[in-house]
C-alpha cells in the first residue's frame, strides 16, 4: 500500500459524472447527491442529457452527464466548472473537457480508450497520452476490466456485468469524499429485489471501486463538512416532483379533488407521471390524445368542480392557447404548468430557456389577461405550484406557472413543510340550497364570480366561449357590455396585486445598480451577487416570482437605482415587459440563448462591466 495522502477540506466541490446515455450516469449522480445530502451537505444538481433515448454509442452527441455541487454552506447552483470529472469514455471526455477547472481531477475508464472509441469521439490523438490533459490530475482506472474481475464467479453474461461499471466509478468517488455506501447498497437491494445476482454484482462492483481507490491512494481525498442549515426534516426534490406535489397540496388544502389533463412532453412529462402515481391521494390523471385535449379535459373538470390543472412545455402551451382563452372568458379556475425549454418549434427539448414569457403573457387572441407566476428553485416549484392553485381557485381564473428544464430536472435538499403551515385556500363553489344564482354576478366588491357545479339543484346555467351579458351570463353582442366584461376581466386580475407579497430586495434599497432576474435563474444570480459582495462590490438584487400582475411596489423598487440590469435566458422578454410599464428607468440587459443556464463567472463579469460603464 502506498503512503496515505492528505485529506483536503473544501467548502464546496463540483463533480460531474459523464458517459454514454446508456451508462447509468443519471443514476450514479443521483446516488451521490442523495448520499451527500443525507450526510449533511447542501446539494444542487443538474442533469444534462441528449434528446435521443439511445443516441449513437460512443459519440459526443450521445453523452449524458450529471453535474452536482455539494457544500458545507448554501450552494445555489450546480456550479459552473467541475472540480472532478468522471468520464466513462473518450466522448464524455471530449464533451466535458471545457467544463473542468484548471488543475481539476479527471477519472477515466482506461479500457474504453480504444482506437475505435477515439475515432467515434473525434479525437485525433489519444488524449491520455497526447499531453492535452497535462494541466489536470488524471486518474486512469481500468474500470471495465476491474468490474469484470469483481464479478468473477457470478453466473452473469459479460454484457450484464459490464453494465454495472457505473458502480465502480461511484465507489471510487465515494472513497474520494469519505462517503458511506449503505444508502446506495440499500437502493441496489430494493431496485433489483427480484434479481439477486444483479444485486450481488452491483454491490461487489461498488466496493471494488471504493477499495481500488483506497488501496492505491490514487490522489488526495476531500472532506466537505456538514452544512449548518435550518432545523427540520429534509428530503431531496426536483422541480417537476415539487410542482406535482404543490398541486396535490393545493387540492388537499382546498378540499377538492385534483384533476390533471396532460400529454407527455419533454421536460414536463414527469409531472403527469407523478400525478398518475398519486391515485392514493385521489388525484385523477387523464393522459389525453394531444395537448389540446389535455387542457380541454381539464377545463371540463373545472366546470364539474375539480381543482383542474394541465402540464406542458413551450410547443404545448402554443397548442393550448385557444383553450386558455376559453378558461379566461368562462372564468374557471385552472393551473397551466409550462416547463420551458429551448425554442422556437421543437427547439432544444432537453435544454433550458426562459423564452416562453411573452407567450404566457400575451399569446392568446382577444384581450385575455392570465395570471403568470414563476418558480425560481427546484424546491420552490412546490410553493409556486401551490400559490398558482390558490390564486386560480380564489379568483376564478386560469394561472400559468412557469418553470423550466433546469428547475424541472435539477434537485435540491428541501425542508419538508407541514400542511398545517401552508396558507388556507378557499374556493367559490355555490353551496347546495342556493336559489338565486347568476353566472356572472360578482362577489361583494370583487370581480370574482361564483362557481356553480353541475349536479347542484336549481343552479342550472350555461357558460361558453361567446361573450356573456354581465351578471346574467346570457349570450350578448351588446357593444357596451363587451367593454364592461373586458374591463371586469382585467380588473379581476389586477386586484390580485393586493393578494401577493411586495417585491423583496436583496441588498440596499438604493444605489447604482440593481440586478433583476425572474424564474429559474435565481441560483446563479444570487451566487454571482453574493460573490461580488464578498469581493467588496456594492450592488442590489431583486428576483421576480410574481410576473403578472407585478408586485405593487415594483416601480418604487426600481426608482431608487441608477441602472437596472435585467438578466434572462432569452433575448430580453422580461425587460421588454417591465419597460412597457415603467419606461422611465435606465435598463440594460444580459441575455443568453444557448439552452444552458448562466454561469456565475459570466454573470459576475457582466455585472462588473455594468458597474464600471
Amino acid at each position: 500500500m502506498s503512503k496515505k495522502k492528505a485529506i483536503i477540506e473544501k467548502d464546496h466541490v463540483v463533480i460531474k459524472f459523464s458517459g454514454d446515455s446508456g451508462d447509468g450516469m443519471q443514476l450514479t449522480g443521483t446516488q451521490f447527491s442523495e448520499t451527500s445530502a443525507l450526510m449533511g451537505n447542501t446539494v444542487s444538481t443538474f442533469p444534462d442529457f441528449p434528446a435521443e433515448i439511445r443516441a449513437p454509442k460512443g459519440t459526443v452527441g450521445g453523452v449524458s452527464g450529471f453535474q452536482l455541487h455539494i457544500g458545507q454552506e448554501e450552494v445555489n447552483t450546480p456550479g459552473d466548472f467541475a472540480d472532478i470529472l468522471v468520464a466513462m469514455n473518450p466522448a464524455a471526455l471530449k464533451a466535458n473537457l471545457r467544463w473542468i477547472k484548471n488543475g481539476g481531477t479527471i477519472i477515466v475508464d482506461k479500457n474504453s480508450f480504444t482506437e475505435k472509441n477515439l475515432i467515434k469521439a473525434t479525437w485525433d490523438k489519444n488524449p491520455l497520452t497526447s499531453g492535452v490533459l497535462i494541466n489536470y490530475n488524471l486518474i486512469q482506472a481500468p474500470i471495465t476490466s476491474l468490474t469484470q474481475v469483481a464479478c468473477e464467479g457470478l453466473e452473469l453474461n459479460k454484457k450484464t456485468v459490464v453494465r454495472s461499471k457505473n458502480m465502480f466509478a461511484l465507489g471510487m468517488v465515494y472513497w474520494l469524499f469519505h462517503r458511506e455506501m449503505d444508502f446506495t447498497e440499500n437502493f441496489i437491494e430494493s431496485k433489483f429485489k427480484k434479481k439477486p445476482l444483479i444485486v450481488e454484482a452491483n454491490k461487489r462492483v461498488l466496493s471494488a471501486g471504493y477499495n481500488y481507490a483506497l488501496n492505491l491512494q490514487l490522489t488526495q481525498s476531500y472532506r466537505v463538512n456538514r452544512a449548518i442549515i435550518k432545523k427540520g426534516t429534509y428530503r431531496n426534490i426536483n422541480g417537476n416532483i415539487a410542482t406535482a406535489w404543490g398541486l396535490l397540496a393545493a387540492a388537499e388544502k382546498a378540499g377538492l379533488q385534483l384533476f390533471l389533463g396532460s400529454y407527455p412532453i419533454t421536460p414536463a412529462t414527469e409531472i403527469l407521471q407523478e400525478i398518475s402515481v398519486r391515485k392514493d391521494l385521489g388525484a385523477i390523471s387523464f393522459q389525453a390524445e394531444d395537448e389540446i385535449a389535455g387542457i380541454c379535459t381539464s377545463i371540463g373538470a373545472a366546470f364539474a368542480g375539480k381543482f383542474a390543472t394541465t402540464s406542458t412545455s413551450g410547443p404545448g402551451l402554443a397548442l393550448k392557447s385557444e383553450a386558455i382563452g376559453l378558461a379566461v372568458i368562462t372564468e374557471l379556475p385552472l393551473v397551466v404548468v409550462n416547463v420551458q425549454r429551448g425554442g422556437p418549434s421543437t427547439g432544444l427539448p432537453t435544454k433550458t430557456e426562459q423564452s416562453d414569457l411573452l407567450q404566457a403573457l400575451y399569446g392568446r387572441n382577444g384581450e385575455s389577461p392570465v395570471v403568470v407566476v414563476a418558480a425560481s428553485t427546484p424546491s420552490n416549484c412546490f410553493r409556486y405550484a401551490y400559490v398558482a392553485g390558490k390564486i386560480a381557485l380564489e379568483n376564478m381564473t386560469p394561472v400559468i406557472l412557469l418553470t423550466d428544464g433546469f428547475l424541472a430536472n435539477g434537485s435540491r435538499p428541501w425542508r419538508i413543510p407541514k400542511m398545517s403551515e401552508l396558507p388556507e385556500i378557499t374556493h367559490h363553489i355555490v353551496p347546495d340550497g342556493t336559489t338565486d344564482y347568476e353566472a356572472y354576478r360578482r362577489t361583494g366588491d370583487t370581480m370574482i364570480r361564483k362557481w356553480a357545479i353541475p349536479g347542484t339543484k336549481g343552479l342550472e346555467h350555461r357558460i361558453g366561449g361567446l361573450e356573456k351579458m354581465a351578471i346574467t351570463g346570457t349570450v350578448s353582442y351588446v357593444p357596451e357590455n363587451h367593454q364592461v366584461m373586458s374591463d371586469e376581466r382585467k380588473q379581476k386580475i389586477e386586484d390580485i396585486k393586493k393578494q401577493i407579497p411586495d417585491q423583496p430586495i436583496n441588498g440596499k434599497t438604493e444605489g447604482d445598480l440593481l440586478v433583476v432576474g425572474w424564474g429559474g435563474t435565481f441560483g446563479h444570480l444570487v451566487t454571482a451577487v453574493n460573490e461580488l459582495r464578498e469581493e467588496g462590490v456594492e450592488l442590489s438584487f431583486t428576483h421576480f416570482n410574481y410576473i403578472f400582475p407585478l408586485p405593487a411596489n415594483t416601480e418604487e423598487v426600481f426608482s431608487n437605482f441608477k441602472k437596472i440590469l435585467v438578466c434572462e435566458l432569452n433575448d430580453g422578454q422580461f425587460v421588454k415587459y417591465i419597460r412597457s410599464y415603467f419606461p422611465q428607468f435606465n435598463y440594460v440587459q444580459y441575455n443568453k440563448i444557448q439552452g444552458l443556464p448562466f454561469t456565475v463567472i459570466e454573470l459576475k463579469e457582466n455585472i462588473k462591466k455594468n458597474l464600471e460603464g
Binding site: 444508502f183 432545523k231 397540496a249 391515485k279 380541454c296 371540463g300 364539474a304 353541475p454 350555461r462 361558453g464
Partner: protein, 338 residues
C-alpha cells in the same frame, strides 16, 4: 333516483330565444331530446350538455340544464373531462359534421376508443352552415360549394364507419324530423353505458336544402328507410316485403316471395353482436342500391373509462399507506437536521 321528479319537455327549455333558421332540422332534434330527457328518470341538475362550435353547438343555450358551449372541435375533450370528473352526470355532447369529424376528429375517435359514457348527438347536414356554406368532411364527392366551386375532390367520411372503425360500442342513426322515433333512440343512447354516437341526418334549409330528401320524401321513404330493431328481421318497404340477406359475405336486398325467398331467410338484427363486421356493413349501405339504415346499429356492453378510473383510484387508496399530503411529504428518503 330516490326522489322521483316529474318533468315535461318544457322544463328543459331555457328562456333564450331559439335562433336557428326557420325550418332548420336542429329544432326538431332539440325537441325530441327535450322530450326524451323529461322521461329519463334523471334529475334535471344531473344533465350537462356540452357543445363545440357550429350551428348545432348553440344547442346548450336553449336548454335549461347545465351547459357549456366550448370551442371548435373540442366538445369531446371537454365532455370527457366533465364525465371523468363526475361520472354521476348524464353528459350530452352536441356536435356537427365539421366539429366532430374535421377539427375535432382526433378527440372524436379517442373518446370512442376510451368508451367514456357520453351521449354524442352528431348533427350531420353535410355542410358548414355557420360559416355560410362550405363543404364538410361528410359532403358528397363533387359537391359544389363556396370553397369547392368546381366540385369537391374529397371523399366523404361515413360517420358510422368511423365510429365502428374506432372500436365504438354504440352507433345509431336517425332523421331530424322523426321526432317520436328519435325520442326512443335518445332513450337507448342514455341507457347504453359507454360512448354512444347517434348520427342525425339533418337538413340545412339554407345551404344544403334537400340533401336527404331522397330518403325523407313521403312517397318513397318506406322503400328507402330500414328501421332496425334488435331481434327483429331487417325488413322494409311500403308492403314490408323487402329485406336484407347475406350472400357471399355481402349484404343484398331481396324481395320476400321472389326467387324462393321466405321471411325466415331475412337477417335478424343483433345489435349486441360483439363482432363489428355486420354492423360496419349496415352502417355503410348507401342509397340507391340499399335503403338507409336507421335505428340502433350497434350497442354492445364494454367497460367504461370513467368507471375504471374511479375504481382504480379507490383500489390504490385502499392499498397505499400514503393517504394524506403530510404522509407523502415525509415518505421515502428523508433526514433530520437538528
Amino acid at each position: 333516483m330516490s326522489e322521483k321528479t316529474k318533468y315535461t319537455f318544457k322544463d328543459f327549455k331555457s328562456d333564450q330565444e331559439v335562433r336557428w333558421c326557420p325550418g332548420c332540422g336542429d329544432i326538431a332534434i332539440m325537441s325530441s331530446i327535450q322530450k326524451a330527457m323529461a322521461n329519463m328518470d334523471i334529475k334535471k341538475e344531473d344533465y350537462a350538455v356540452i357543445s363545440g362550435i357550429g350551428c348545432s353547438s348553440r344547442f346548450p343555450y336553449y336548454m335549461n340544464t347545465y351547459g357549456f358551449h366550448t370551442i371548435h372541435g373540442r366538445a369531446g375533450a371537454i365532455a370527457s373531462g366533465v364525465k371523468t370528473a363526475n361520472p354521476k352526470l348524464s353528459v350530452w355532447q352536441i356536435t356537427g359534421d365539421g366539429d366532430a369529424l374535421a377539427i375535432g376528429g382526433n378527440h372524436f375517435i379517442h373518446e370512442i376508443r376510451r368508451n367514456i359514457d357520453i351521449n354524442v348527438v352528431l348533427f350531420n347536414n353535410q355542410i358548414y352552415g355557420l360559416t355560410k356554406g362550405q363543404y364538410s368532411p361528410t359532403s358528397e364527392y363533387g359537391i359544389k360549394t363556396k370553397t369547392s366551386p368546381y366540385g369537391s375532390v374529397e371523399k366523404p367520411f361515413n360517420p358510422g364507419e368511423l365510429v365502428i372503425g374506432s372500436s365504438g360500442t354504440f352507433f345509431a342513426r336517425g332523421i331530424d324530423n322523426n321526432v317520436r322515433e328519435n325520442q326512443e333512440l335518445f332513450m337507448e343512447v342514455e341507457k347504453h353505458k359507454g360512448t354512444s354516437i347517434v348520427e342525425i341526418l339533418q337538413n340545412c334549409v339554407i345551404y344544403n336544402d334537400g340533401v336527404y330528401s331522397y330518403v325523407t320524401n313521403r312517397k318513397e321513404k318506406a322503400d328507402r328507410q330500414l328501421h332496425l330493431k334488435h331481434g327483429e328481421p331487417m325488413i322494409f318497404g311500403k308492403e314490408k316485403d323487402k329485406g336484407l340477406i347475406l350472400e357471399k359475405g355481402k349484404l343484398k336486398v331481396v324481395k320476400i316471395g321472389e326467387e324462393g325467398i321466405k321471411k325466415e331467410d331475412i337477417l335478424i338484427h343483433d345489435a349486441k353482436e360483439q363482432s363489428p363486421i355486420l354492423h360496419y356493413q349496415l352502417s355503410s349501405l348507401q342509397y340507391p342500391e340499399f335503403p338507409v339504415i336507421l335505428g340502433v346499429i350497434r350497442s354492445i356492453d364494454a367497460p367504461t373509462y370513467e368507471v375504471a378510473v374511479h375504481n382504480q383510484i379507490a383500489e390504490i387508496q385502499e392499498l397505499s399507506n400514503i393517504n394524506t399530503m403530510d404522509q407523502l411529504l415525509n415518505s421515502g428518503a428523508t433526514w433530520e437536521v437538528e
